[in-house]
């Protein structure tokens, strides 16, 4: 990451806020300028006249701990206790708060928040420190080198003052172009395992405010009656029965170009749900997805059993030649179902009229897309839209879509209500489960050739599924030669040194809307890679850990880091030690989002009598772990998410209609499903990478590999629907 900082890119703003206030930050230069059209300032830290320091958080908080991690960077460079730094979420303004790793768009995803922020926030904090020290030195007539800043107090010899006293003077100074960052040996907050989350208080006493909790004067509730099949259109609707629902206001058909549905308005949420249930509608399904899951699966399986549409790595002919000379070929097909994200808080968004335009209250994952959506629907300039980012009740990718789907709905609901009163769009759990934007279903077919010694000589890997980015705003960046990177990531770029590897891709075609889902393509590719490596080791009669290490011995930095987490996971899990009777272990390791994670799952039982997950050992290399306990929590979370879905979740269709409706048939992971998780962070001085997603990819294959030791190799998910019972 290039973090060239110039004076031009810094802001000192005493005027932005009343009184003497110091606001310091920087932008990432060209990337932001090119994408956002303007290049000005990025204020990350605010020092108010009373000395109060606030970290302005440019990413939303969906539980991943960003508010804690980014404020820790500011507190570290300002030599302050973390809990003395207040936290505020940034407004929507890509010129100020763009994510360099998103080409300058403002948004959170791909486990990029810390990777993009680490130097930006430390630099902002260091600049504020230097300005306060310089101001004190000038006022006191001493050398800056004699002034220290600690715990909000500036000191030189016998003189000292709280920073609030020097804010006014500091605000007159030029922002230092290259402030000196603290040496890592002096860190007291970064890397401290005792750092607590900043949001513990409000999230345990009921005061944390989510979108669902926004209650404005004169606010009405809007819900959508959606078509039962994706791609269907509304013909007509009848709301006469809804007239009897107390609190029902009215309904309005969405314009066809905005989707297929009816907006239902009511005075409160319950009335809106009741009214919606009583409205009948007719739909035109001629362009809809009308298939059932069996056919949709068969179509994807057929696609991986024939020539691929696109070559993502190598050529089929070269790999075919390599396989021809193999002593044995192991072969397996895989299937991964559509999956809903199932955020604990269903989608919601509140839009209210403001003096300049509208105010949007949202657990806002992708402000750049949200601004665009509201501006387009309401036909107002982006400057007229204020986005208030509030806590999000989970995302797993769902709150950012390339069409800003629920934001468009909220904008339409606001406009169709007349644009004069606040409107809260509410999704029910049924909307969430049946509402699309799923992890796309994927099929894989892999044939691996081994020589006499069990070594890999060729790897033919076919993939089919609906691409996520193709045809969308990121197409130019992420689709090359017809290959959507999100369909193949984790295969063609594997750190394993695999000879004769071919990866072929065929796009799945369906009107079902798909989206990134925690770990995106890695959510299926890691399962396939790690299952095939396990089967190859088995066929070679070698230990699964040692066998993998053999393909990570090339000495590249990626191979070294991947091998290291694998070795440490083997040690920590007692891989070579005896297990309790009836126990089995499986291992998987994967690189995603720049982070390396190895996991060993230990189970008891077997597929017929019931599998119980006794323990998961997780080892992560994410570079510098800024807030280690947050890293551990994210590892636990990603493991639960990966294993829970692999065990028993799927979205299926009957004649185009989603079969599942709510948690009873999209059963979440429960507390009793995993008895224990032990996480170990390997020490690293590398730049920090992401932790929100990378523990998900290896979790399901490690479980599958453990189950395979009991005699059942499961490669079609979910496991519970494909021959594995759980205790």
């Amino acid at each position: 990451m290039n973090t060239q900082i110039s004076r031009r890119n810094f802001l000192k703003s005493a005027s932005a806020l009343a009184g003497a206030t110091l606001v310091v930050g920087f932008d990432a230069g060209k990337a932001v300028a090119q994408s956002a059209g303007t290049s000005d300032i990025t204020p990350f830290v605010r020092v108010a006249a009373d000395g109060k320091v606030t970290a302005i958080i440019k990413h939303f908080e969906c539980g991943q701990g960003t508010a804690t991690g980014l404020s820790a960077l500011i507190a570290e460079e300002l030599n302050m206790p973390l809990d003395a730094v207040e936290v505020d979420f940034a407004p929507a303004n890509a010129a100020l708060y763009g994510n360099t790793l998103f080409g300058g768009a403002q948004g959170t995803g791909g486990s990029t928040a810390m990777a993009d922020s680490y130097l930006k926030y430390r630099t902002a904090g260091a600049a504020a420190r230097e300005m306060l020290i310089t101001a004190a030195a000038e006022v006191w007539g001493v050398s800056p080198s004699d002034v220290t800043l600690k715990d909000g107090v500036l000191s030189a010899g016998d003189t000292s003052a709280p920073i609030g006293d020097l804010v006014s003077a500091a605000a007159q100074l030029d922002v230092p172009a290259n402030p000196t960052l603290k040496d890592p040996s002096e860190f007291t907050i970064i890397g401290n395992p005792d750092t607590n989350r900043r949001d513990n208080g409000p999230k345990t006493n009921g005061t944390a405010t989510y979108g669902m909790d926004i209650q404005l004067d004169n606010q009405i509730v809007a819900v959508l009656l959606r078509g039962p099949r994706f791609g269907g259109t509304l013909v007509s609707h009848d709301d006469s029965a809804a007239q009897d629902v107390p609190g029902y206001i009215r309904s309005a058909a969405l314009p066809p170009q905005a989707g297929a549905g009816v907006i239902v308005y009511a005075q409160n949420t319950w009335a809106a749900f009741q009214a919606r249930d009583s409205i009948t509608a007719d739909w035109d399904f001629s362009a809809a997805e009308n298939r059932s899951s069996d056919q949709m699966k068969a179509d994807l399986m057929a696609a991986v059993n024939t020539d691929a549409e696109f070559d993502a790595r190598g050529t089929p002919a070269e790999t075919a030649a390599a396989l021809k000379g193999a002593a044995q070929v192991i072969e397996r097909d895989f299937f991964f179902p559509f999956l809903a994200h199932g955020t604990m808080e269903p989608m919601t968004c509140v839009v209210a009229p403001s003096e300049t335009g509208v105010t949007v209250y949202d657990g806002c994952q992708f402000p750049t897309a949200v601004l665009g959506a509201f501006a387009a629907v309401l036909q107002i300039p982006q400057e007229a839209i204020e986005v208030k980012t509030i806590y999000a009740g989970g995302t797993f990718g769902r709150r950012a879509t390339q069409t800003a789907d629920y934001h468009v709905e909220a904008a339409l609901a606001f406009a169709f209500a007349g644009g004069q009163q606040p409107v809260k769009l509410v999704w029910s759990r049924e909307d969430d489960i049946k509402g699309g934007y799923y992890r796309p279903a994927y099929a894989h077919k892999v044939r691996v050739g081994l020589d006499d010694a069990g070594q890999i000589v060729g790897w033919d890997h076919r993939i089919a599924g609906k691409p996520i980015f193709k045809g969308g705003p990121f197409d130019a960046a992420l689709v090359h030669g017809g290959v959507d990177n999100s369909s193949v990531e984790g295969t063609r770029d594997t750190p394993y040194a695999l000879p004769g590897m071919y990866v072929g891709l065929t796009d799945g075609k369906t009107p079902v809307p798909v989206n990134w889902w925690r770990s995106v393509g890695h959510s299926h590719t890691a399962f396939v890679m790690e299952t095939m490596m396990d089967m190859a080791a088995e066929a070679a009669g070698q230990d699964p850990v040692e066998y993998r290490l053999g393909y990570l011995a090339g000495g590249t930095p990626d191979q070294n880091r991947m091998a290291n987490v694998l070795r440490v996971a083997a040690e920590r899990s007692g891989w070579t030690s005896d297990m309790a009777e009836g126990h089995s272990r499986g291992v998987a390791v994967h690189k995603s989002f720049g982070t390396f994670v190895a996991e060993v799952v230990e189970i008891s039982g077997n597929a017929d009598d019931g599998v119980a997950i006794e323990n998961v050992t997780c080892v992560v290399d994410c570079g510098v772990a800024v807030t280690p306990d947050v890293v551990v929590a994210q590892m636990e979370s990603g493991i639960g998410y990966g294993i829970g879905h692999a065990m028993r979740n799927e979205i299926t269709f009957s004649d185009g209609e989603v079969d599942q409706f709510n948690f009873p048939d999209y059963e979440p992971l429960r507390i009793s499903d995993i008895k224990s998780i032990e996480t170990h962070i390997v020490p690293s001085a590398e730049a920090p990478t992401g932790v929100g997603e990378p523990s998900t990819p290896p979790s399901a294959p490690a479980l599958a590999n453990a189950i395979a030791r009991t005699g059942t190799r499961v490669t079609h998910l979910p496991m519970a629907e494909n021959g594995v019972s759980f205790a």
């Binding site: 969906c62 539980g63 991943q64 701990g65 607590n196 989350r197 949001d199 513990n200 208080g201 409000p202 999230k203 345990t204 006493n205 009921g206 005061t207 944390a208 405010t209 989510y210 669902m212 909790d213 209650q215 107390p246 409160n268 949420t269 319950w270 749900f273 199932g342 955020t343 604990m344 808080e345 269903p346 806590y391 999000a392 009740g393 989970g394 995302t395 797993f396 029910s428 759990r429 306990d629 947050v630 929590a633 636990e636 979370s637 639960g640 998410y641 829970g644 709510n662 948690f663 009873p664 979440p668 992971l669 429960r670 507390i671 009793s672 499903d673 995993i674 008895k675 224990s676 998780i677």
Partner: protein, 153 residues
Amino acid sequence: MANSLKINGQMLSVDAPEGTPLLWVIRDELKLTGTKFGCGVASCGACTVHIDGQPTRSCQTYIEDVADTEITTIEGAESDVARAVHQAWNELNVVQCGYCQSGQIMSAVGLLTENAKPTADEIDDYMWGNACRCATYQRIRTAVQRASDILEA
């Protein structure tokens, strides 16, 4: 229809038709938004409140069924057990997105009120109905045990 409710020690009058789930009365009428809407079918526990001290899913409890009861929401959870649970949750950094945690805490308070020293299996049994999509379960289990220790000390 006017109904009288006793919530967090206060008698309140609300206008809601028969058949309205207590959840929506609490959230939309009384603006006590700490109690969350997660599924509406008593399958996730985010809406858990105490009715006469018993953890109850407010999405499947109706306004007409709670007259003459004492309702406690997360905002009113101030017993010694609740304080210990809060402390344990904070010490162990249980929360992530936090949306389910009001319900988790109301269930944990119910558990520790009934059983001061639950085993891991007893915690799993009692807390099973409270879903957490962030999968903070391991910390919930540990925090319940920590709260138990705090109360014992």
